[in-house]
């Protein structure tokens, strides 16, 4: 069973690391936007690239956050009924509902791969004044989906361990589910 728990720890650690790096993208987004305002008003020379680059960074930032948030169990859910169940019953319910999660993720992984490879093969650009390549941003959807799928598998393994009292995972490790959340 040690292979299983090593896989679970590894995936969670990977998502943790990716999330911490992705979180830093907020700094360049801020800098580019301020730079654009400064260029426009103080130097009277608006640029063609700042807004579009910020845009692309934001897209990557938003989509890549998924795995990290999953690793922290941060995606908002309604725990009205769920929280009244015993831990093992929760495990069974979670195994059942994960079917819908995997349907969604597999569709995403499959078709985001299609989209990204099409975009890469044609070296797709945005056709704006600056005209940067956009395949890296489309590729990020695929990478993000795979990371979320992996974290979802980890979660399913946790739920199976809880439901069937298996030893490779200790439910005490599960952090409290309600962390941050709100728009």
């Amino acid at each position: 069973m040690s292979v299983v728990s090593a896989f679970m720890k590894g995936v969670t650690r990977l998502n943790e690391y990716v999330g911490r790096c992705i979180a830093l993208i907020v700094f360049p987004m801020f800098v580019f936007l301020i730079l654009e305002v400064a260029l426009r008003y103080f130097f009277n020379s608006p640029s063609v690239w700042t807004n579009e680059l910020t845009q692309l960074l934001f897209g990557v930032y938003a989509v890549m956050s998924g795995g990290y948030i999953m690793a922290h169990r941060g995606h908002v859910n309604v725990d009205l009924l769920h929280s009244t169940l015993k831990l093992r019953a929760q495990g069974f319910v979670d195994i059942f509902t994960s079917i819908l999660f995997f349907i969604f993720m597999l569709a995403l992984v499959w078709f985001s791969f299609d989209m990204a490879s099409e975009s890469f093969e044609s070296r797709e650009t945005s056709f704006s004044a600056w005209n940067p390549p956009i395949w890296p941003a489309k590729g990020a959807i695929f990478v993000a989906s795979v990371l979320m799928l992996l974290q979802g598998i980890v979660r399913l393994l946790e739920d199976i361990a809880i439901a069937f009292n298996l030893s490779y995972y200790d439910p005490a490790e599960r952090k409290s589910h309600s962390e941050e959340g709100e728009a």
């Binding site: 801020f30 934001f58 819908l100 569709a107 959340g181």
Partner: protein, 436 residues
């Protein structure tokens, strides 16, 4: 399968999986994939991915992480603490003064940040212990913080308004302008409620004893604390309303203001900024993932033709145009108890907005009603974010039950506010018409 049965199954499975505790983003995404398969087949899943890409390409949404980041930094600076001290010196001598002053700080905070949690956390940590130790009633103190914190989404800037503008196609600047007067009105109404309640039951919120009150020079010195927040507000709202920048760039100006505040308070440290960045990623990311899958969801139900069905059901509601508006408000109110605002927007607005415009109502006005309703949703159990935020910072003597009970009178005040805006739409529409 008939469209009626399909729609029933569609929304039924949404509710079913939600109640079983699967996160909203995955319920929306999964349900739409399954239904797309039965209506358009396997290849239609490409649409789900292209919806995600379309959402990533929206420049307006870039404002979200920046406004959140700004709030996360401001929450950690001493801005809230100094504001509270100022207010304590000025209003402490009045009956209910600390409660009214807390409302004022919440309004200033709301004008700086675009989310509702920041003021709740800051005031729950600073104002609540202070009010309780001065003999304020537990529920009065809790209710004030909860209600004031919710104004973050009504008084501009506001992330909910940005999303509303994006979905409905109205201008973000107009939405922001429309929120100003209703925000002030709610503040006046809530203050009136506190004044009247304290006049009837003086022991709920006693005035400070004479020796604890401040001298005039002290009071004026404390006024300095408002300078920094006011200039941050000026930077953000001034640049949007003055037409200098886009809302997204104004959000970056706000981050600049927050960073300056952090520097003034000696909190300009890597540890503070890094932690703020990580919390920003979490909050932005979960909003964006709901948006990603909700886009897929609403296009799935449009492609099924469910929209026409819901429109015809709405048309059957008695009471004409106003009956429809009230029915929508009631639906949103109950959804607000269990769902989060972004999800509610994505599910209801694509259906509601065409009806609203067909009936001849102003979508900006409806947007304000919607946002106030969402604000109530933030503080109504079982699923109100502010309740959990507040529970996270209060002393152990305050139970979740205390928090639940504390909000009842304040929710009623806000419902009165919604009714006033329905009767006098000018409260919302006057300022945007004047400015734009």
């Amino acid at each position: 399968m008939s469209i009626e049965v399909m729609t029933l199954l569609f929304f039924g499975s949404l509710l079913f999986f939600l109640l079983l505790g699967l996160p909203l983003a995955f319920v929306l995404g999964g349900v739409s994939v399954v239904f797309l398969y039965f209506t358009w087949g396997f290849d239609s899943f490409y649409m789900v991915v292209s919806q995600i890409w379309g959402t990533m390409e929206s420049f307006t949404l870039v404002a979200i992480p920046l406004f959140v980041f700004m709030a996360m930094i401001l929450e950690r600076t001493g801005v809230a603490r100094d504001l509270y001290r100022m207010m304590y010196l000025w209003f402490g001598g009045l009956r209910g003064g600390l409660a009214i002053g807390t409302l004022g700080i919440c309004a200033v905070f709301a004008a700086m940040v675009g989310i509702s949690g920041a003021a709740v956390v800051a005031m729950g940590a600073i104002a609540l212990p202070s009010m309780l130790s001065r003999g304020y009633d537990k529920q009065m103190a809790l209710g004030v913080i909860n209600t004031g914190g919710g104004w973050g989404v009504l008084i501009p800037p506001s992330i909910l308004m940005i999303l509303y503008a994006l979905i409905t196609g109205v201008s973000v600047g107009k939405m922001f302008a429309a929120g100003v007067m209703p925000g002030i009105m709610l503040m006046v109404l809530t203050t009136l409620y506190i004044v009247v309640r304290c006049a009837l039951q003086p022991d709920l919120a006693p005035a400070l004893p004479k020796d604890d009150r401040a001298s005039w020079p002290e009071k004026f010195r404390a006024l300095r604390s408002v300078l920094l927040p006011i200039s941050v507000v000026g930077m953000v709202l001034g640049s949007i309303m003055g037409g200098l920048t886009t809302p997204t760039e104004a959000a970056a100006m706000g981050v600049l203001g927050a960073l300056i505040s952090a520097a003034v308070y000696g909190e300009f440290k890597w540890s503070v900024l890094n932690e703020a960045a990580i919390r920003t990623l979490k909050l932005t990311g979960l909003t964006m993932w709901i948006l990603f899958s909700a886009h897929a969801f609403s296009s799935a139900y449009q492609s099924m033709g469910a929209q026409a069905l819901i429109e015809s059901i709405m048309a059957m509601i008695p009471g004409g145009a106003w009956g429809t508006i009230i029915a929508m408000m009631v639906i949103i109110f109950f959804l607000g108890m269990v769902l989060d605002p972004v999800g509610i927007m994505m599910i209801t607005l694509p259906v509601f907005i065409p009806i609203i415009t067909a009936l001849g109502f102003d979508p900006i006005w409806f947007g304000i009603l919607f946002v106030i309703n969402m604000e109530i949703g933030y503080k109504t159990p079982p699923f109100g974010f502010n309740l959990f935020y507040l529970k996270g910072v209060v002393p152990p003597s305050v139970t979740m039950n205390d928090i639940y009970k504390s909000i009842i009178p304040f929710v009623l005040v806000e419902i009165v506010g919604i009714i006033l805006i329905m009767i006098f739409p000018e409260i919302a529409t006057w300022l945007p018409e004047l400015l734009f």
